[in-house]
């Protein structure tokens, strides 16, 4: 990961954080969070519609990064264009994955569903390791190397704020795509069908909705969304076979915080987690920051498993049928 000098561990100074630094971290966090949001929407969507927890979600992020990378290297495309080019391929991969791995276990036990995607994750990670080696690869964007500078705002006692342009572009595109998807889900006909299927599968079937097609589409869309996120961060992060694994844990934290199945939840929590990560990184260092959001994760799962926006799953006890 490309480290930003402003985020290095600051253990010597005991001075309280000044406004400049606070804003700097906040902005960095939000920029980061936008990408987390986009990456996580697909995961929460798949769970919301199919009740499948896709443990392999991060691998598609990683594969998309590789595809974009090759497109940049060999087709000499602009990385963001390369991402676009990778989309149809990723979509296809999503469809194939659905047929081979997801569909056969939709009615299987929880064990089978969990471990099929775990197995899938293992397969993809190691195939990439085998064919493309463990080398870290990265690209740079020629037109976006200089930091943008905001301010200073003398009136607010705020000094210069640095913004990394590649992160800014990633954020902007991520938010754009997230909002576009949200609108699609909310207002388009297909989007409504997807939501209907998520809410009540039996009712959807009765309405003549081909749930299998919807599941297939939803899964592929979910994969495309995380793939897009991967492509967007290619200029920022190096790609290697296990980059997906690093990100998937963050995605799970985001999804659980936002509420499994809630797209809005994922979007908002993405931003929250981005900010949490940047501040944690500042306070306890890059390597240790992961502990913070894992603790957050476990805390959410224990205190409010349904997350911020998830359907409030009634307590286990209240799953007793009350027909009377």
């Amino acid at each position: 990961m490309i480290s930003c000098p402003l985020l290095s561990r600051n253990s010597e100074s005991a001075t309280p954080m000044d406004l400049t630094l606070f804003i700097q971290l906040l902005i960095s966090g939000i920029l980061l969070g936008g990408v987390y949001a986009l990456a996580s929407i697909g995961l929460t969507l798949i769970f919301g519609v199919m009740k499948v927890v896709n443990f392999a979600h991060g691998e598609f992020f990683m594969v998309a990064m590789y595809l974009a990378y090759w497109a940049v290297q060999y087709l000499h495309l602009d990385p963001y264009l390369a991402t676009l080019v990778a989309v149809p391929v990723v979509f296809l991969i999503g469809i194939v994955t659905y047929y081979l791995f997801i569909r056969p276990t939709l009615s299987s036990s929880v064990l089978a569903q969990i471990f099929i995607t775990v197995g899938l994750s293992t397969i993809i990670q190691n195939m990439v390791l085998l064919f493309w080696s463990a080398d870290f690869r990265s690209i740079s964007v020629s037109y976006a190397t200089e930091s943008l500078v905001l301010g200073p705002f003398a009136a607010l006692r705020v000094e210069e704020i640095m913004i990394s342009p590649i992160r800014l572009i990633a954020f902007a595109l991520a938010i754009l795509l997230s909002v576009a998807f949200y609108l699609f889900l909310k207002f388009s006909y297909t989007g409504k069908i997807i939501r209907a299927t998520a809410q009540d599968r039996s009712a959807a079937l009765l309405m003549g909705i081909n749930t299998d097609k919807i599941y297939r589409l939803t899964f592929a869309i979910g994969i495309v969304l995380v793939g897009l996120a991967g492509g967007l961060v290619l200029p920022v992060y190096s790609v290697q076979p296990f980059v997906g694994f690093d990100f998937v844990l963050i995605m799970f934290v985001v999804v659980v915080l936002g509420g499994m199945g809630s797209v809005v939840g994922a979007m908002i929590s993405g931003l929250i987690i981005g900010v949490v990560e940047v501040f944690s990184s500042y306070w306890i260092g890059q390597e240790n920051k992961q502990i913070i959001y894992f603790l957050v994760f476990i805390a959410i799962l224990v205190v409010r498993p349904s997350g911020l926006f998830g359907l409030r799953e009634e307590e286990e006890l209240e799953h007793i049928e009350t027909i009377d």
Partner: protein, 241 residues
């Protein structure tokens, strides 16, 4: 034996049961009836410990069980069946019942023997090797009862064990329930089939909108105005004159 006083249960803003009190004595068969949505199963859930009532108390054989979890209440001798049967799908009928028997018998061998006895009693012995998920509805209902009986309950809560049975199965079930009652177990029964519950019960409690609207012997209940109003509506009552 069972003394319920002032219990209530809310879901969201709705009071599914409010300020309900009743008691059940030794040797009785008590019926619980009421229109759909009256809160009957909720009463069972509260009494058996699956829901907690924030008001009032429940005493069973002079023990306060208001705050106890279901497993503790079962061990004290109060057992319940579920309206939608919950067999352990992937194990045999015998093993299903053994789970109940292990509540009393610590040894697996003795539990197995007890399970076989109970299966004989309910008439499932010849199907004891079937897996839980492969049973017919009637057999599932029997299994529900068998599992509960294996825990040697003193008070047995039966939640609509007749639902979904054809007339022949119904007759057999009625016979079985009578046999259970005759064996000394006190029964508290929720049932929709009027003829059955009237015939079985010594006393009937009628619930509507979570409140007790009538209580008494079957003959009294059948002609009680409130009860008729609850089931058939005000117009019917007025039409009767």
């Amino acid at each position: 034996m069972l003394d319920v006083h002032g219990i209530s249960k809310w879901f969201g803003g709705n009071a599914v049961i409010s300020d309900l009190s009743f008691s059940i004595q030794q040797g009785e068969v008590v019926g619980l009836i009421g229109p759909n949505g009256a809160g009957k199963t909720t009463v069972f859930n509260v009494v058996s410990g699956f829901y907690r009532s924030r008001t009032g108390y429940i005493r069973f054989n002079d023990m306060d069980i208001t705050r106890l979890p279901p497993e503790a209440i079962c061990s004290l001798g109060l057992c319940r069946t579920f309206q939608i049967t919950r067999p352990f799908s992937n194990i045999s009928v015998t093993k299903n019942v053994m789970i109940g028997a292990l509540n009393r018998e610590k040894s697996v061998r003795k539990a197995e023997k007890r399970a076989e006895e109970v299966l004989e009693f309910v008439g499932l012995h010849d199907r004891r090797h079937l897996l839980g998920r492969n049973l017919t509805i009637a057999d599932r209902k029997r299994l529900e009862i068998a599992k509960g009986l294996a825990t040697s309950p003193k008070l047995f809560l039966l939640d609509e064990v007749m639902a979904g049975l054809n007339p022949a199965e119904l007759q057999e079930m009625i016979k079985l329930i009578r046999q259970v009652a005759d064996s000394g177990i006190v029964l508290f029964v929720i049932e929709h089939i009027m003829a059955v519950i009237m015939g079985l019960s010594h006393r009937i409690i009628v619930l509507n909108h979570g409140e007790k609207i009538a209580e008494g012997e079957p003959s009294q209940i059948a002609s009680d105005a409130e009860v008729i109003k609850a089931y058939l509506g005000e117009e019917y009552l007025l039409a009767q004159g």
